[in-house]
Symmetry: C2
Amino acid sequence: MTDPAPLQRWAVRIEYDGRDFVGWQRQTTGLSVQQVLEEAASRLASGRTVASITAGRTDAGVHATGQVAHLDFPAEVRLNASVVRDALNFHMKPHPVVVLDARSVDLSWNARFSAIRRAYRYRILNRRSPPALDDGRVWLVKRPLDAEAMGHAARYLLGRHDFTSFRASACQAKSPLRTLDRLDVSRSGEDIIIVAEARSFLHHQVRNMVGTLKLVGEGRWPPARVGEALAACDRRAAGPTSPPDGLYLTAVGYDPDPFVT
Amino acid sequence: MTDPAPLQRWAVRIEYDGRDFVGWQRQTTGLSVQQVLEEAASRLASGRTVASITAGRTDAGVHATGQVAHLDFPAEVRLNASVVRDALNFHMKPHPVVVLDARSVDLSWNARFSAIRRAYRYRILNRRSPPALDDGRVWLVKRPLDAEAMGHAARYLLGRHDFTSFRASACQAKSPLRTLDRLDVSRSGEDIIIVAEARSFLHHQVRNMVGTLKLVGEGRWPPARVGEALAACDRRAAGPTSPPDGLYLTAVGYDPDPFVT
């Protein structure tokens, strides 16, 4: 038996435009962010395979301004933080994926399992005209939305609950229990911004919560019905899944945070 | 001699992504925003020609979130504000141009000559990594910029001056005198936002001011040198023209404003 080749682990903070991809994870159906990142890393490692693990496996069409992943390079490749960032960015061109920051981490550190917080932002464009500048980046809702009512409804979801009603049928998590720490709704001109934070989320949880809050914003649901939908523990009791276009993974939290020195 | 056909004039507020266009004005070299708008308007007028006049003839690559133009339709076409907005948006698809609002105006009202104020926003992305989400929408400046020094320098340009030093050689304005009412510089995270307001601007004036302020932000120019460049009345005394990517025409002011009812 031989020991595995020694590795060095790098944490990277990443921004991407989800429109061009089948999602984070490799698929046979098209290009993924993971493939773009790992192929660029492999170029840095003279063609050897470099595997990655990510904090959040975003769906097709979902964007990120603060995704985090780690990459395992062969130990003998000479790297530093600027080289990892700039060389990965060079090799990922022209794909809309960039590394914002890179940090050397211990092999015990894991982008997914060390994460203690995920933050998402969802952007609704609330007006009659479609977006000329932000097509694929927002959810266009033409009927006027009451952000205050949506914010009131959001409070029913805060805390530790069984989120079965807001969970995709394909969700592979063992438990439907999650603790939602933040779900804020605010209006800024024609934009409705929803910020969600938790240690972790179920599959489609943010998009299902947003799709449900939109029913409240339109006046079709009273805010209290969101609490009833949660209590029902039945996906059919909540609203539809909002499109991926408006969703951004904005931050992943660690303690200690390798990106804060 | 016959009278010209009677017309009805509509003011439209427009958003567009400048990346796809040769600029506002029709050119033989490619597609312009004007052509997309006028061809859509012509469809509404059963194929008859509809001419437009705009408040700001933006250059290739420059964006707008609040451009204003007027369109002269034959008087007998039955129109109302929702029809003008929604039908133009339908016919302009899939081009990244949308009408946000439409208002019926007198034939004495002119989108260009009635305008008393133009507002532009310029967005610099100040970080090492290129933009994944905003390629073509920002000017990437990698060296750290001192926004405070830029704001101090900007004050030398406020007021009524001969702006020859900040004027494109191709500028067709009769006088180089302009009154700059606002030139604010602020930082928001990795963004440097510059807001400029005046009754009117010379050709490339905003981009030349931004290109000059960037030299101050990098520490290559002391702020006072911007005042000296202005006083020189010589284009070679000021800094280079910043790229169109970061520039947005955000608002055009009128008194009374047809869009404020």
